[in-house]
C-alpha cells in the first residue's frame, strides 16, 4: 500500500456490498456528513480564499452548515432527483449558507461600523462558480473512487479473490495514481501466481467489471436509478475532460462521455 491507498483508511466505510438506489442511505444524515465532509471542506476553503478574514472561521462555518442544514430533520429530504444532482444540492446549499452567514456577520460588523467586506460585492464574489466548483467536484470524484476501490478490495478479500484485487491494484490503480509504468506482464503473473494468459486476463477483466459495478453502487447511494447513475458518470467524465485539455493534447484519450 502506498501513501495514497493508505488514505483509503481515513474514509468512513460503508458495509453495504451491493448498493441499490436507496434514498434512506442518502437521507441518513450521519452518513452524509461522514461521506461528503471532505469535498465540502475543500469547496469551502475555495469559497473563503477570497475572504482572508474568514479563513480562520472555516471549520466553524462548516460545522454550522452541518448542524443547521444537513442535520436538520427534513433537510436532506429536499434532495429530489427530479430537481438536480445531489452533489449540486450540497454544493449550492453550502454556498448559499456561507453567503447568508457572511451577510449576517458583515451586517453585525456594520452595526458596529466595522465592515470588512462590501455587502454588494459579497454575493457576486461567491456566485462565481469556477474554479471553486471544480475543486468540489474533483474532491467528490476522489471520494467516490476511494470508496469504490475500498469496497472492491473488501469484496475481493471476502470472496477469496485477492489476486483479482492485487492484479487490478498493481496494473491499474497504482499506475493511475502514481503515473508510473505498470509492471511487465511476466512480473505480474509471477507475482500473482497466474499460470496461463486465460487466468491473468480473466483476473484483470474481473477486476475491471468489479470496479465498474462498485463505482455504480457508490453513485447509487446518492443518485436514484440507473439512468441517474449513468448521467452522473457522464457528468463526471465531462467534468474531467474539461479539466484535461492539456493532457488530452499530450495524447491521453479523451474520456468517452457515451453511456457505458
Amino acid at each position: 500500500m502506498n501513501s495514497d491507498t493508505q488514505l483509503f483508511r481515513q474514509i468512513p466505510q460503508d458495509s453495504s456490498e451491493f448498493q441499490v438506489t436507496d434514498w434512506f442511505v442518502v437521507t441518513d444524515q450521519t452518513k452524509v456528513v461522514q461521506k461528503y465532509l471532505y469535498p465540502l471542506k475543500v469547496y469551502l476553503m475555495g469559497l473563503l480564499a477570497r475572504f482572508p478574514e474568514y479563513r480562520g472561521d472555516a471549520e466553524d462555518l462548516l460545522q454550522d452548515f452541518v448542524r443547521h442544514k444537513i442535520l436538520q430533520p427534513g433537510w436532506l429530504e429536499k434532495a429530489d432527483p427530479k430537481k438536480g444532482r445531489f452533489r449540486d444540492l450540497l454544493k449550492n446549499s453550502l454556498r448559499n449558507f456561507i453567503v447568508g452567514e457572511m451577510r449576517k456577520r458583515e451586517a453585525e460588523k456594520r452595526g458596529g461600523k466595522n465592515s470588512a467586506v462590501a455587502l454588494d460585492d459579497l454575493e457576486q464574489e461567491l456566485s462565481v462558480p469556477e474554479p471553486l466548483s471544480d475543486s468540489f467536484d474533483l474532491s467528490w470524484l476522489q471520494m467516490l473512487l476511494t470508496e469504490t476501490l475500498q469496497q472492491m478490495e473488501r469484496a475481493c478479500a471476502v470472496s477469496e479473490n485477492i489476486h483479482v484485487w492485487k492484479i487490478f491494484e498493481t496494473r491499474v490503480v497504482r499506475p493511475s495514481l502514481e503515473g508510473a509504468s505498470p509492471p511487465p506482464y511476466e512480473e505480474l503473473v509471477a507475482e500473482c501466481g497466474l499460470q496461463s494468459p486465460a487466468q491473468a486476463t480473466n483476473a484483470l477483466a474481473t477486476g475491471k467489471r468489479m470496479f465498474a459495478r462498485h463505482l455504480r453502487g457508490v453513485i447509487a447511494q446518492y443518485e436514484a436509478g440507473d439512468r441517474a447513475v449513468r448521467a452522473e458518470l457522464d457528468a463526471l467524465r465531462v467534468f474531467l475532460n474539461k479539466l484535461l485539455p492539456e493532457i488530452n493534447g499530450r495524447g491521453t484519450r479523451t474520456l468517452n462521455a457515451s453511456l457505458v
Binding site: S3, D4, S196, P197, V260
Partner: protein, 172 residues
C-alpha cells in the same frame, strides 16, 4: 487518492469503460510465451465437452496433460486426440473471451495446434476447408509477437497443405 489530480482520476475512471485493451501491445509476446509455457491440463480443465473429459480420463494420455502447450507443439508425435481437444479449447476461449488480446492468443494457439496435427500426425480426413486453414495460418504468421518456432511450424503446415496434406518426408 486525495493527492491525485484530474489526470490520475481520469485514468482510473477510464477503467469503467469497455473496449480498452487490458495489456499493452508490446506485451503480446510475453502473453504468447506464457501461453506456451502454461500446463495443458490447466486450460483444458475449462473444456467441458464429453470428448475432453474422456480424453483427460484416459490413462495413456495423462502424461501429456502434465506437459506445456509449447512442449506438445514441439513433440514429434503429438496425440491427435489431444490436439483436437486443444483446438476445441482454443476455439471456445476465442469465442467466449471478452478480451480481444486473449482471443488473438487462443486463435493463434488453435492454428498452431492445427499445424502440428497436419504436419506431425498421420494424415486424417481433414474436416476443415484447406483455404480457410491457409488463411488462418497466414493470419497467425502475421502476428508480430509469435515466436520463431511456432512460425516455422505454421510455414511447414502451409507447405503441407500445398502438398495436398502430405508432409515433406524430411519432416516426418
Amino acid at each position: 487518492m486525495f493527492m491525485t489530480g484530474a489526470e490520475g482520476l481520469a485514468r482510473i475512471l477510464q477503467m469503467d469503460q469497455d473496449g480498452s485493451d487490458l495489456w499493452g501491445a508490446e506485451e503480446m509476446q510475453a502473453i504468447w510465451k506464457h501461453q506456451l509455457s502454461a500446463p495443458i491440463e490447466l486450460d483444458l480443465s475449462t473444456v467441458e465437452s464429453g470428448r475432453s473429459s474422456e480424453f483427460r480420463a484416459a490413462p495413456d494420455t495423462t502424461i501429456f496433460l502434465k506437459k506445456t502447450f509449447g512442449e506438445l507443439l514441439e513433440h514429434p508425435r503429438p496425440p491427435v486426440r489431444l490436439l483436437n481437444v486443444i483446438e476445441e479449447f482454443a476455439k471456445h476461449a476465442a469465442k467466449e473471451s471478452e478480451d480481444s488480446q486473449l482471443r488473438q492468443v487462443t486463435t493463434a494457439l488453435y492454428y498452431a495446434s492445427c499445424a502440428a496435427r497436419l504436419t506431425r500426425c498421420e494424415k486424417q480426413k481433414e474436416s476443415q476447408d484447406p483455404d480457410e486453414l491457409r488463411d488462418g495460418f497466414d493470419w497467425a504468421l502475421s502476428r508480430l509477437w509469435l515466436d520463431e518456432q511456432t512460425k516455422h511450424l505454421l510455414h511447414h503446415a502451409r507447405e503441407t497443405l500445398a502438398n495436398d496434406g502430405v508432409p515433406r518426408a524430411a519432416d516426418q
